[in-house]
Amino acid sequence: MKNNIKIIGAGPAGISAAILLAHFSVHSTLIDENSEIGGAIFKKPDKGMNNSTFRDEKTFIRARKMFNEFEECSSYIDLQLESEVLGNFPLTNDLAILQKGKVKTISDKNLLIATGCYERAQPFPGWTLPGIMSVGGIQSQAKCGNVKPGKRAVLIGTGPLLLVAAKQLHMAGVTIVAVLEAGRQKDIVKNSFNLMSNTKLLKEGMSYMLYLKKHRIPFYYGHGIVRAIGKDHLEEIVVAPYDDKWHPVKEKSFTLKVDCAGIQYGYVPRIQLTQMLNCKHTYNLNRGGFFPVTDSWQRTSVKKIYSAGDNSGIYGSDVAVLSGKIAALAYLIDISEISIEEAEKIANPIRKEMNKLKKFQKTLNDFSGLKEGLMGLPDQDTIVCRCEHVKKEIIDEAIEVGVKDMGALKIRTRIGMGNCQGKMCGNYCNEYLAHKLGSSHENVGWLKPRFPMAPIPFDSINTNN
């Protein structure tokens, strides 16, 4: 194969890129750790599970369309599922991939990184209690339909996913005690004009709100988490109104009796690979913190490495589809498969659509963008790094003795030395350090990811028989 770009991540961004390339008869290798394509939003529930809830969604129709298109292009796409990219070996220009229990290497040239995002973990007192989940976690349980996450649930955080999850859980037979959105109603009303830029998404959002209303599910603007209480399992959640900066107004707090809670304060781009590949990164809290810098064609600062979708800054699945196409066009230009003029012609309407969507998203961010009050949620004895059981007070102590960046914080406290390499606590710690020191997020830096990005059995790199 003459030209072969490796696309890491088979979500909306990666799939749309592969499809566009196929339309130009250009081959690609599409790599994803899951057993199905689709990424975070279109991923089918595991085989054999009841997915009736999922079928109901509009997203399913979109997914179906994309999967069909993908099928038609399959002769151009070498699909490698259950293949986890674990990092790179720069001296040999290799990328390491775990496949069938063994690590193998492929060339690290010509990469489109479309690894999507994680849900940002928000520490608060009691957040490690069983029964507390990320909204994505709770959602995937609801989608499967086999196990209910609980009987009485609350959804707390910010952003439209709270509404989506509330509906899905409710349809799966869970009582939704309340949905609490940290953003304030006046901020959304103020910007309603901008939201008109995407009537489709606006309508979708409204339909979710109507669903809650119809089923008498209480929805609170300007409210959020304070703490979770329970002995061995979640029993109660304390919530409160949030002020302008999202500091809870504790005098007005109240308690909800629930046995499960979905918490969601923001997303974080999965940038471990672009970090390891030495791409330049920038910081913007509203787009999830650090993400690789890209030019108008989704090229990163490193030659022949492209980034698209939520990996290149959170903008949601619709933008992911479009940015995947732009990245594919960039590759076609770079291998002289099409001229810049030709590419521009195709890109123009895509960019126009993308800008419209980004405007919508920006408005949502103004409403939903994380605020500094969240940093004060943990108590002194709240665990921040779950892998190494590092409490908030240990982090404060470290700051007191002069720790100024994430590397020093790691050596001092062991944050990020656990199995997740800081995927959980890294963002909170960066935000907190920058806030406390009045320093920039760039200066505070990040926890350097290393091979393997996720734990692997030693046997996977064993060469004895």
Binding site: F89, T92, A96, T105, Q421, P452, I456, P457, F458, I461
Partner: protein, 411 residues
């Protein structure tokens, strides 16, 4: 205050710089500043933390990979013939240096915990050289016979004793030679412990990069950092693999080059190893929190600190051979660090002719964790113009004088 001259500026805050800062801080009349900026690959944070005084001196631990053992070499030579080789051993004064340092640790542990509050996790483990075949045995016998005065610190184990002691070791191992006092610490906690205790005792820690050293009439007068000029009477070069960069600021060339070492780390596991292990492939140490650390390579790759697949495979395969159940355990992280290497594997300590107020404390190669304690005492003596408890001559830079003329590539 601003223009006050500092007595001593220490450049580099790894285990060596911090241990010196701590030792010097026992004298309350000295004003001391430690300047450090953590560079990618600094050795202390990457280290295994073995206090393998005899093991490393006879070429085990990191040394094994440096000079592969006989059996390993035999496997690799096509015809299988190779004359019996003596293990790679360091000179007797180096044994002394290591053993003296090792003896200091129990007290140090108490002191540092009391003063600065950091527990650097000193564990009595011993180090076992695990033997798989007769060649390994011949190699171990060579070691044993070459240091008769230390035989009370060594113990032979046959395969039955070994199995009893370490039930998870490869059933085919024929025995082990144990070094009873070769223990371990947590290396970065040791550095934290030195630093915090030094701080309590008045050392100022400055997070900055040294850019230049100002010399006037052959005497050091100030250190320039990115942000400041710090006037001082004495500088101590403890900049690890970057020591030659620092010495060039006073026109001294040091034959110190970075020697890359890679490490693999397991997830936390229940305690399955009593002692640290060294085989002809790798060393294995279970740390106090249950993580199993596997090391290490010795590579000349300049300042590169990336992981590389072939080397990791070699280490992992060696570790699985030694501890078969590791196969099913997870590796959660790999990294690499830069040992400050010297041509004769011996550190470079003390003054340099022709430049006043400059002291070397660098080139600790693969034993800087172990020898940090004694290094600090030697430097402390030199600062106070006392004769060190160990003969300084074999550690001085001028030992390379003639060689440096003949082998200019070392400079």
């Amino acid at each position: 205050m601003k223009n006050k001259t500092t007595d001593i500026v220490i450049i580099g805050g790894g285990v060596i710089g911090t241990s010196i800062a701590y030792e010097l801080s026992k004298n309350p009349t000295l004003s001391i500043k430690l300047i450090d900026i953590k560079k990618e690959g600094n050795a202390t944070q990457a280290s295994a933390g073995g206090l393998w005084a005899i093991g490393e001196s006879v070429g085990l631990g990191c040394g094994v990979i440096f000079f592969k053992t006989l059996s390993k070499r035999k496997q690799e030579t096509t015809n299988g013939v190779l004359e019996t080789q003596r293990p790679h051993q360091l000179p007797p004064f180096f044994f002394d240096f290591c053993l003296k340092s090792n003896d200091l640790f129990p007290n140090l542990w108490r002191e540092l915990k009391e003063i600065g509050g950091v527990d650097f996790k000193l564990e009595k483990t011993g180090l076992k050289f695990v033997m798989y075949d007769d060649d390994d045995k011949a190699y171990a016998e060579n070691i044993y016979n070459s240091i008769p005065h230390l035989q009370n610190q060594m113990k032979w184990m046959d395969s039955i004793q070994l199995k009893e002691d370490e039930p998870f070791i490869n059933k085919n191992a024929i025995g082990a030679l144990t070094f009873l006092n070769d223990d371990q610490v947590n290396p970065y906690l040791l550095m934290n412990a030195f630093r915090d205790a030094a701080k309590v005792q008045g050392v100022e820690i400055i997070n900055d990069e040294v850019k230049d050293i100002e010399v006037n009439n052959g005497k050091v007068v100030a250190v320039h950092t990115t942000n400041n000029r710090i006037s001082c009477n004495t500088v101590i070069n403890a900049a690890g693999s970057w020591a030659a960069e620092i010495s060039s600021m006073v026109n001294v060339s040091l034959p110190i080059t970075p020697v890359k070492g890679q490490i693999l780390l397991s997830e936390k596991m229940p305690k399955i190893l009593k002692s640290c292990l060294s085989t002809s492939d790798c060393y294995i140490a279970q740390k106090d929190n249950g993580e199993i650390l596997i090391g290490s390579t010795t590579e000349n790759k300049a300042y590169d600190t990336s992981s590389s697949y072939a080397e990791l495979q070699g280490l992992a395969s060696g570790a699985i051979k030694a501890i078969p159940i590791l196969k099913h355990m997870n590796c959660k992280r790999t990294w690499a660090g830069l040992r400050p290497g010297t041509p004769d594997e011996v550190p470079i300590l003390g003054p340099v002719e022709g430049i006043d107020g400059y002291l070397n404390a660098c080139g600790h190669f693969r034993t800087g964790i172990l020898t940090s304690a004694i290094t600090a005492r030697i430097i402390n003596d030199l600062v106070h113009l006392r004769k060190p408890e160990i003969d300084i001559n074999p550690f001085l830079l001028n030992r390379f004088k003639d060689k440096m003329k003949n082998e200019p590539e070392l400079v």
